[in-house]
């Protein structure tokens, strides 16, 4: 097990990249702590699989180094990095039994048979696949196949990191939560560093202690699920995480005062920086219907069960609010109140207000 350091990592799939647009990964500097449970979250095509393949050694980065515990592994092939990877589609060796599938990585490394038998038995117990050990792997159901591909990664006790590349894509919905909690449990038992790549925020937030959010080949924020929710560093994070996502509203700034559709907005703290395009960001959870505040007309009310999402138009901009209890009629004139400690200014997409000692929520 090891700490993984990525330094000045850049990758382009083109032979002669010219501009930043040619890079699938732009300048990544990141430390993964030993034994952490990480999620790499981002939309399709944001570079998360590229990053994963660079860590596993399936890809060599155009620039930058990868260190496992200060040992430079940038030029090492995958089998010498002691990593394990679980792919989107279960990879199993069809003609072998489950037992031989699990033993395969150990046999390839010349481990003695007694030890192999012990490890396979341990892993099979952990994954609850003991009764399937002598079945041919091609006869398993997709979720069990995926368990076996995980097992092949976990069976080695020298793995530095186990990586999951959207491992639940082909699993039936009702089995997804089962496998997900199994994964979480495995992490607690094995204590290996785990990196989980997904575009599904629920999977990322439930699995990981630390979530790395990526967009267009860049890391936009690293934080705990709570941090990502409470204080998004970028409008993308605010929008991508949460259901519905954060309201991102066009704002005018003049002399330190910020207004939205002609209404003065109170922010969480002092504004930093200047110029650029400014936007106000506030999560629907912190917008409420009030007697005074921003005048708005309700355009849509959707009851999603526990609460309702009310969409109201201020000027010409729709704002979403999460409302519990009594719901307004569609077309009703209402007033919206923003909770100041969760109202922030974003400049060119990036957070641009200071948090004035309000860790409270």
């Amino acid at each position: 097990m090891a700490k993984i350091t990525l330094s000045n990592l850049r990758h382009s799939y083109m032979p002669n990249p010219t501009g930043p647009a040619d890079y699938a990964l732009k300048e990544i500097d990141l430390d993964w702590q030993d034994g952490g449970a990480y999620a790499l979250l981002g939309p399709s095509g944001c570079g998360k699989s590229t990053l994963l393949n660079i860590i596993s050694g399936l890809l060599t980065p155009s620039e930058g180094r990868i260190l496992f515990d200060d040992r430079d592994v940038t030029d090492l092939p995958p089998d010498q990095r002691n990593i394990a990877q679980v792919f989107q589609f279960p990879v199993i060796y069809d003609t072998m039994t489950v037992r031989n599938n699990l033993a395969f990585p150990l046999r390839n490394r010349g481990v003695d048979e007694g030890r192999i038998a012990r490890r396979v038995a341990e892993i099979a117990k952990m994954l609850e696949v003991e009764e399937m050990l002598d079945i041919r792997a091609s006869h398993l159901s997709p979720d069990n196949k995926q368990k076996i591909s995980m097992g092949r990664g976990l069976v080695r006790d020298d793995v530095n990191v186990v990586m999951f590349d959207e491992p639940l894509t082909v699993i039936d919905p009702h089995l997804k939560w089962k496998l997900r909690s199994k994964l979480k449990e495995l992490h607690q038992r094995v204590r290996a560093t785990m990196i989980y790549v997904t575009h599904d925020q629920t999977e990322a937030l439930t699995f990981a202690d630390q979530v790395v959010v990526m967009q267009d080949g860049e890391i936009v924020q690293i934080g705990t699920p709570v941090e990502l929710f409470e204080r998004p560093q970028h409008t993308f994070v605010g929008h991508f995480i949460g259901s519905p996502g954060m309201n991102v509203l066009p704002a005018e700034e003049s002399g330190g005062a910020v207004s939205f559709q002609g209404n003065r907005i109170t922010l969480e703290g002092a504004v930093t920086g200047q110029g650029g395009t400014t936007q106000v960001g506030i999560r629907p959870e912190f917008v409420s219907l009030a007697h005074s505040g921003l005048p708005a007309r309700v355009s849509k009310v959707s009851d999603v069960g526990r609460h309702a999402v009310v969409e109201a138009v201020v000027g010409d901009t729709p704002v979403k609010a999460i409302v519990e209890g009594e719901l307004p009629e569609q077309g009703a004139e209402v007033h919206l109140a923003f909770r100041p400690d969760h109202t922030r200014l974003y400049r060119d997409g990036w957070l641009s207000t200071e948090n004035e000692g309000s860790a409270r929520t």
Binding site: P78, D79, Q85, V91, Y93, D94
Partner: protein, 287 residues
């Protein structure tokens, strides 16, 4: 509730008629000949299974059958591994893929009798390119019209040249359908190239290889045109395969009865071997 509807039969009827005319009727005619003796003028005498017995006991048939099995065995044992090796070494992506595919497909596009004629001219001593090169440049005595061994080598090389492409193309199709993740997982699992072949590529190619072997078996077991044009079954009877012998009996000697019996035996052997092979190859999947 189950509604009985017999109308479906009417829709199948045209196909039944078609099959009857192009398969059942001709085969039944052969069956008819195989149990009777005729001296022309539509006069027939019942013969029972005499022709079958005569054919099966004849040294000539047994020798031809032996040559046929030897030929099929030799071309399969060369073409299948060779086809797999070529498919494995072909590029998986890039501009060379279409080039390789077209080159591979070329031999199969040439009509069979042209292949025979080409190889005939190619191998003639003195004037054929290969014949001249072997005899006069390398000093190897080679004349397939005189030497049975040379004739065998020639028909086998010709068949390998003509049909290995089929195995290559089928294997290649099987290979490119393997997702990259399998190779990546194998790399991470530390599998050697042999293990990648044994546990990933070969199992994934199994279906197409079954088809390739079946097609090559049936085609080579029934082969006629190419060896007929190339060697005419000679020198002597050394390359007289079953189909060549059959045509000699049927059209050369006009012994329709024995020829019909031989056709049916021939057909039965082809069918039996194909069925056995297919059943064995697909046995594990059915579990």
């Amino acid at each position: 509730m189950k509604t009985e509807n017999q109308k479906a039969w009417f829709f199948v009827l045209p196909v039944l008629l078609l099959v009857a005319f192009n398969a059942l009727v001709p085969i039944m005619t052969v069956v008819n000949y195989s149990v009777q003796e005729t001296f022309g003028n539509n006069v027939f005498f019942w013969q029972g299974l005499d022709w079958f017995e005569q054919i099966l006991r004849s040294d000539r048939f047994q020798a031809a059958l032996g040559r046929q099995f030897l030929f099929t065995f030799l071309i399969l044992i060369i073409e299948i591994p060779l086809g797999i090796i070529i498919a494995l070494s072909m590029p998986k992506k890039g501009m060379w893929v279409p080039v390789c595919l077209v080159l591979m497909a070329l031999p199969m596009l040439i009509p069979w009798n042209v292949v025979g004629a080409m190889w005939n001219i190619f191998t003639l001593p003195k004037i054929g390119l290969l014949g001249y090169f072997l005899n006069d440049v390398l000093g190897v005595s080679y004349d397939m019209t005189q030497n049975p061994f040379a004739a065998w080598v020639t028909i086998i090389v010709m068949d390998v040249w003509h049909w290995t492409s089929l195995v290559v193309l089928l294997s290649y199709a099987g290979l490119v359908s393997i997702p990259d993740a399998y190779y990546q997982a194998a790399k991470i699992d530390g599998a050697s190239p042999w293990k990648v072949f044994r546990y990933i590529q070969l199992p994934k190619m199994k279906t197409v290889l079954t088809i390739a072997i079946l097609l090559r078996f049936m085609d080579s077991f029934n082969i006629y045109t190419e060896p007929f044009v190339l060697t005419g079954g000679g020198p002597g009877n050394s390359t007289t395969l079953l189909s060549i012998d059959l045509v000699k009996i049927a059209l050369g000697q006009f012994d329709l009865g024995p020829a019909a019996a031989m056709s049916l035996i021939y057909f039965a052997i082809t069918l039996l071997v194909s069925w056995l092979f297919y059943t064995l190859m697909t046995k594990d999947d059915a579990q």
